[in-house]
């Protein structure tokens, strides 16, 4: 699964099968990202990260923190 992390301006390949809880929350936990700091976009739609994910999904994590 492709995951774009806006804060770092990077896209990573993530193997969803490596985590037990295959939801957005599980992914954020694995990446060490606090869910309060990002908008979770799956296949170009904003979702609540409790949703389940599949390997074919394209995920974008948009940072909600800007400025100083």
């Amino acid at each position: 699964m492709k995951v774009f992390i806006e804060k770092d301006n990077t896209t990573i390949e993530f193997d969803l099968s490596t985590i037990e809880n295959q939801t957005g929350i599980g992914l954020l936990k694995e990446l060490g990202i606090n869910s309060n700091t990002v908008l979770f976009v799956k296949n170009n739609e904003v979702i609540i990260p409790d949703e389940e994910l599949s390997e074919t999904d394209e995920v974008k994590l948009l940072s909600v923190i800007s400025g100083g």
Binding site: N34, N36, L39, I48, S63, V64, I65, S66, G67, G68
Partner: protein, 330 residues
């Protein structure tokens, strides 16, 4: 027709709990949740706009006859607050305009000013730009090394002092009666706790949805329509409204105490949802007492009416902090 969108959560190895994530109001697919309520796109926008209008009315942030100046950077908070100010002012026939401070931070402010220009042109909003370079001779980037190495000052401190001065002076020169800022619930929670950690109770006394301890015709009162809106809600609002907001983090943020406090608060919010509301709501309960206390203390009374002997702007000593910094760095 309601979308079947199922969330499964396993608790203590028991059978998954099936929890539909649909809008509490209409049953459409939910995209946001807050304090047990789920929102679809349309109901989120309605929730956001209603909450901002209620904040403006509840705290009497805008009044008939006001000339509102919106402090804007082009970032998400300022675009959202500018848009909401526009909606409110058009509805209630109040004058408003935007004011942008260009600090001169390469690769950061230039992008947001570009976004702001596009936005103001689209909605036909009058806007003005004041730059550090024009006002102080050099931009923040050129001040940073000297500030850190020779004066042991963080760039955020320098930036904050110069920005506050220019915003107040700019708004006053443009005959504004209120200065709107994009400060949100996250900013306010951070500031309250930072002042607590640093023992600056008096600073907290001048905070709240309308800043300042007492009226002074040299100060344009600052008001915060996004006071109870979270940072996440603002970004979502901008995204759903189609505002062009590029992700831009100030390159100096890692040097600030605020960023450390922000991370800790977000950690606490994860284990205790609603903690930010808790901090701000309990602060609002004690704020009238803080204001009353510090308004009557001798130190504050004497400080209220001093004017800087160099620039004539209001300050607490003989010379304002901005003029002191200017002589050190510029």
């Amino acid at each position: 027709m309601p979308v079947k969108n199922i969330c499964t959560k396993t608790i203590k190895g028991k059978k998954p709990i099936v929890k539909p994530m649909v809008c509490t109001k209409c049953g459409a697919k939910a995209i946001y949740k807050n304090q047990g309520q789920f929102f679809c796109k349309d109901h989120f926008l309605d929730y956001f706009e209603t909450k901002v209008f209620k904040t403006i009315k509840k705290f009497k942030l805008f009044e008939k006859g006001d000339n509102i100046c919106v402090a804007t950077s082009g970032g998400k908070d300022s675009l959202a607050v500018l848009y909401m100010t526009m909606l409110y002012c058009k509805k209630y026939n109040i004058d408003f305009f935007a004011l942008c401070i260009d600090e001169g931070i390469a690769g950061y402010r230039d992008h947001t000013v570009e976004d702001l220009t596009t936005f103001c042109n689209k909605y036909d909003i009058k806007f003005h730009v004041l730059s550090f370079k024009d006002q102080f001779g050099i931009g923040l980037d050129e001040m940073t090394n000297k500030a850190i190495n020779e004066h042991n000052k963080k760039p955020c401190t320098v930036c904050g002092i110069f920005r506050r001065k220019l915003l107040n002076k700019g708004a006053r020169d443009l005959k504004a009666t209120k200065l709107v800022t994009g400060h949100n619930l996250d900013d306010e929670t951070q500031s309250i706790l930072m002042n607590q950690f640093l023992g600056n109770a008096q600073h907290n006394a001048s905070m709240g949805p309308i800043t300042g301890l007492s009226k002074n015709n040299k100060f344009v009162p600052r008001v915060k329509p996004l006071y109870i809106i979270t940072e996440k809600e603002t970004r979502l609002f901008c995204l759903l409204r189609g505002f062009e907001v590029h992700f831009t983090e100030c390159p100096n943020i890692h040097l600030s105490f605020r960023s450390q406090v922000r991370d800790k608060i977000n950690d606490i919010e994860t284990v205790l949802p609603g903690a930010k509301y808790g901090v701000v709501n309990s602060f609002l309960e004690i704020l009238p007492l803080l204001k009353k206390h510090y308004k009557n203390t001798n130190t504050t009374k004497n400080k209220n009416f001093k004017l800087c002997i160099k620039c004539g702007e209001p300050c607490s000593g003989e010379i304002c902090n901005a003029c002191k910094l200017e002589s050190e760095l510029c």
